[in-house]
Each structure stands twice: as C-alpha cells, then as structure tokens.
C-alpha cells in the first residue's frame, strides 16, 4: 500500500525514538564493561557515556587475573559459573528436546498422550516458586543440590512444554506422504521415525533446541534455590561480585553481564522466524 511522505517521516522518527530509549540500558552496560575502575564510580560527577580509556581489565579481572586498579582478588573466578550455565542449559535442552520431540511425534502420528498438551500448558502456567519447596526436598534427597546435572534435570522439565509444543506444530505441518512411502517400502515405524522423519525435521529441531536453550540459559530463580557454591550459574555468581568491602564491582558485573547476554541475543536473532511459534505455544506461526 502506498504511504505518504509524512507517514514515512513519522515512521522513522517514531522507530528511532523507541530504539534510542530501548538501547540505553544495553549501551550503558556495554560501555561500563570496558571502563577502567576510575570511570565506574557512581558519584555522578564525571559520568561518561563513552569510556575515556577503554580497557579489557574487567574481563581479565573476572577470569581471575588481577587487575592493575583493583586491590581485591576474587575467591572464585567466572570460569566455573560459565561452565555451570553451559552444562546445565545444554543438558537441560537435551532432556526437553528428547522427551518433547518423542512425545510430540507420538501424539501427532499415533494419537498417544492426549493429556499432554493441556498438562504441559498447566505446567507452564504455575510460577516455579510455587513448587520449589518439594523440588528442593526431592533434589536434596536425590543428592542433586548444587550440581549441574540436578539443574539440567529441572531445566529439562521446566522447558519440556516449549519443546513439546514447538515440535508438535512442526510434525502437524509435515506432509505424511514421504513417511507413507517409506512404510510401503517395508521400513518399520520406528525406522521411519529415525531415518526419514527426524532428518527431515533437522531445521525445526535446531531452531526449537536453540529456543529452549535460550530459556534455560535465562534462568535465575531455580539456580538461586538449587545451587549454593560449586555449580552456581552466571546470574547467581554475579551477585558475589559485590561485597561490603569493595562495594559494587560495576565494571566486573557489566563484563559478566555482557558475556551472559551475548549468546541468547545472537541465537534469538538467528531463529527470529520461529520465535513467535515458540512463544505462543504454536498458536501462531509466521
């Protein structure tokens, strides 16, 4: 549809204004991450929006190398929490995707598990905080507190609804003729699933897995309750970058925040097309 010039001007102005506001927080963290300690100060007197003397000191500091300006040393570096986040989010994704894909196929093709769609939506509905007492007791009983595999298990369950619904909509969309052809050739159902269906679904599996990974990577509350020291994840560890002695280590936190923020943003942009489907439980496809 043709739009007038004045509308075009309005459009760009409005978008520019919105983006300017919406990018301030990210831009500020980016700038803080590269500032030397002298420029962190929250006194506000010499607040600079752009680092005057950009430095990588903050990144060196969180990975345990002493920083020239910081007297404090960290008792734990960021390496382990990053590993914890990676392991728990990846294996959580593997659990959710395996159980979710299998169940979605079972329901989509054979009509099994008719209770799952609703049960999983309900699971998604409840605040995790409302089931955490029993989960903490169960995890303690199973020896899963403060382990990355314990986190991976709960992440797998919490994101199962997304994996299931996403894959269900993909299986529902997939034409059955190719599967039928393979069946006529004499393949067993199981072989068809493994050798024909899954390879065809590779793009769908990849984007669903990335989507689920972003969700797992973004968790804070569950890790806060289920990890204590050895396997705390990035967001939980972040809180330890401030103490009564040092105050807020703004630059160090910003550097770590940047490390935590970059992967999901890149992944999210990569799977833009599937985001709507995932976030609306497949109610809306783009």
């Amino acid at each position: 549809m043709q739009r007038s010039l004045s509308f075009e001007i309005f459009r760009y102005t409005a978008i520019a204004l919105f983006l300017a506001l919406s990018l301030i927080p990210t831009a500020w963290m980016l700038s803080m991450a590269f500032k030397p300690i002298a420029e962190w100060q929250s006194s506000g007197v010499d607040l600079t929006w752009w680092p005057n003397n950009p430095t990588l000191d903050n990144f060196r500091f969180i990975f345990g190398h002493s920083s020239s300006d910081l007297i404090v040393a960290l008792d734990r570096t960021a390496g382990r929490p990053i590993l914890a986040s990676l392991l728990s989010a990846s294996f959580g994704t593997a659990i959710a995707m395996t159980a979710g894909t299998a169940a979605a196929y079972g329901l989509s093709r054979f009509g099994f598990g008719g209770n799952l769609p609703l049960a999983l939506i309900q699971l998604r509905l409840f605040p995790p905080m409302a089931v955490m007492i029993p989960v903490m007791i169960m995890w303690a009983f199973l020896g899963l507190i403060d382990t990355w595999w314990g986190l991976a298990l709960i992440y797998g369950i919490v994101t199962l609804p997304f994996a299931f619904w996403l894959m269900k909509t993909f299986f529902d969309d997939m034409p059955r003729e190719i599967e039928d052809a393979a069946l006529v050739e004499g393949c067993s159902r199981w072989r068809v699933f493994l050798r024909v269906t899954l390879p065809m679904m590779r793009p769908a599996l990849a984007s669903s897995a990335l989507f689920v990974f972003i969700l797992n990577w973004s968790d804070y509350l569950i890790a806060l309750l289920l990890t204590t020291r050895d396997w705390v994840t990035i967001p939980v560890y972040m809180a330890s970058l401030s103490s009564s002695m040092t105050g807020q280590l703004y630059g160090a936190k910003a550097a770590l925040g940047l490390i935590a923020a970059v992967p999901p943003v890149i992944m999210g942009i990569a799977i833009q097309k599937q985001l709507v489907r995932g976030l609306t439980f497949g109610a809306l496809k783009e």
């Binding site: 301030i24 963290m29 079972g106 905080m129 409302a130 029993p134 973004s218 935590a260």
Partner: protein, 311 residues
C-alpha cells in the same frame, strides 16, 4: 497396552492389525518419557506440598520432611495465610504491576507493529534491533536497570542534562519510585515480545478486504478499527494471556534491582515466597502459600481454557 508383552502371532498374515499394534507400541514408548517427567514434577511435589502445608515443619527442625507429622497443625497455616497482610499486599502489588505493565506493553507493541506492517527501507535490521531486549537474560536486565537507576547513574545524568540542574533522585530507595523503576524494566524487556506477536498477527490479516475498503474510500483509522482489529482479537487475547501468566511469576529483574524493597515496596508474590523460603525458613507455611496459589491458578486457567475453547 496389555498386549505389549504378548509375542506377535504371525508376522504378515493380518497386516493392518500388526501395523496397528506396532503403532500403538511405538506411540506408547514415545510419549512415556514426557509422561514420566510430568508425573515426576506434578504428582510427588503436589502430594508433598499438601502434606507439609498441614504442618509447622522447617528444614531447621532437624527432622526429615516425612516425619513432619510430628509438627501437625492442621489447617492453621491456611488460617494464618488468610490474615497475613504481607501476603495480601504482595498479591495486590503483583496485580498492580500487571495492571500497569500489560496494557502499556500491548499498546506500545501494537503501535510499533502498525509501523512495521508494510515494507520499508531498513525494516529487517530495525526489526531485529527492537527484539534485542527480550533476549537479554532477565537477571542481567535487572542488573542493567540497577546501574541505570543509581542516584549518580545515567538516568539522573540525562535528567540533569534536560533540566539544567543536578538531579540526584534516589530511585531505588524511595518506595514509589522503586516500584516505578522495576515497572520500567519490565516494560523495557517485554514490549518487544508483544510487538513480535502482534505484528505476526497483523501480517496474517488478509489484504483483500483492506484493499476493497481503500477503494471505497475508508480512512486508515476506520480500516484499522473495523477490519484489522476484529481479526486480531484472538491474537491480542493470546498476547495478553502470555504476559499475564509471565508477569504473575515476575522475580528475576525485580529481585536483583531492589530485593523486594525498600521495605516491601516492590515485593511481588514470587519475591515474598522466596523470602519466606530462604530467610524465614517456615516451609510448612510456604507450602500452604504455594498450594493456595496453585489452586487459584488452576481454577482460573481451567475457566479460561474452557471459555477459549467455546469461542
């Protein structure tokens, strides 16, 4: 499922039946892991929760949870809950945050979606850039806004620049301003989500009717009201439902920005439960709160789903 163990009688004589059995077997095994996981996270925790909620048990008592019956107090926790002003105020505050955040997010998202519905130069890049906030880890977003709202931070700096005098508002230590600040962070993070969903909905509204309306000389506003909006009803309901559900759980950015404070000024229901769990450690009581919320949510969601199915 009982015939799972019985051997297949004669392989290919009655093909359709054998195939049906194979399908049933595969369907059963494929859905089993998901069923078990759901059972594992739904059944045990709920039963455990009911049991513990009837006791005064705390992990500091030195007795394991299954012997919590020694501290049996019946429905006393629920009676306490009904008269707990902090619980009701947290619930009310969660509702208030929702009542402000959701409409603002939906309206902003809708406005942006209108700007993006047809093609223009740079659309793809701008679209991706708008989505960035929703992909930032919420805890990190909380930390970003914690920095922004420091009294010597960039927001006051911007206000100083605009007003010409030095502004030193203590955003996060004033009850009302702290609530405002956490609401801003929520709106910042989730407006892109509303934009994403509403735009997808808007694009799917067929063009032909709109074209016809253009030919008839209907103004843009009129076309939007009478053609586009009615067809977006379901999508708007979905978008609102998603935000209402997620907003009810809100924890990460709020907790990192203010810890629920100053006092209880930004304490939402999740923060309240977290604090009772971690700081006051009265788990019997926490179980009662959690269960009460679960029951209310179940009833509300059942009614909502039933109503949506009818529509």
């Amino acid at each position: 499922m009982t015939d799972m163990t019985s051997p297949m009688p004669h392989a290919r004589t009655d093909a359709p039946d054998a195939e049906g059995r194979e399908e049933r077997r595969l369907g059963f095994w494929l859905t089993l892991p998901a069923q078990l996981l759901v059972l594992f996270i739904a059944l045990f925790p709920i039963l455990m929760q009911i049991y513990i909620s009837l006791t005064d048990w705390s992990p500091l008592d030195g007795i394991p949870w299954y012997r919590a019956y020694e501290l049996w107090i019946g429905l006393l926790n629920y009676a306490d809950l009904a008269g707990d002003p902090r619980f009701w105020s947290a619930l009310w505050r969660t509702g208030l945050v929702m009542a402000i955040c959701v409409p603002v997010q939906v309206l902003l998202g809708l406005g942006l979606a209108i700007l993006f519905v047809d093609d223009f130069r740079g659309k793809r890049v701008l679209y991706s850039t708008i989505l960035v906030p929703m992909m930032v880890v919420p805890a990190v977003a909380g930390y970003m806004f914690f920095m922004l709202f420091q009294s010597g931070g960039p927001i006051n700096d911007l206000l100083s620049m605009i007003s010409g005098q030095r502004v030193t508002i203590a955003w996060l230590s004033d009850p009302d301003l702290a609530l405002f600040a956490v609401i801003v962070s929520d709106i910042w993070q989730w407006t892109p989500l509303m934009f994403l969903i509403l735009l997808a909905g808007m694009v799917s509204v067929p063009q032909d009717q709109q074209m016809a309306a253009v030919l008839l000389g209907a103004s843009w506003g009129r076309r939007f009201r009478t053609i586009v909006l009615p067809r977006m009803k379901t999508i708007i309901i979905i978008a609102v439902a998603i935000r209402v559900i997620e907003n009810f759980k809100v924890f990460d950015n709020f907790y990192i920005m203010t810890g629920g404070g100053p006092g209880v000024a930004t304490e939402t229901i999740s923060i309240y439960i977290y604090k009772v769990t971690q700081q006051e450690l009265i788990w019997g009581y926490v179980a009662a709160i959690a269960l009460a919320i679960l029951i209310v949510l179940s009833v509300v969601s059942m009614l909502a789903i039933r109503k949506m199915r009818k529509a």
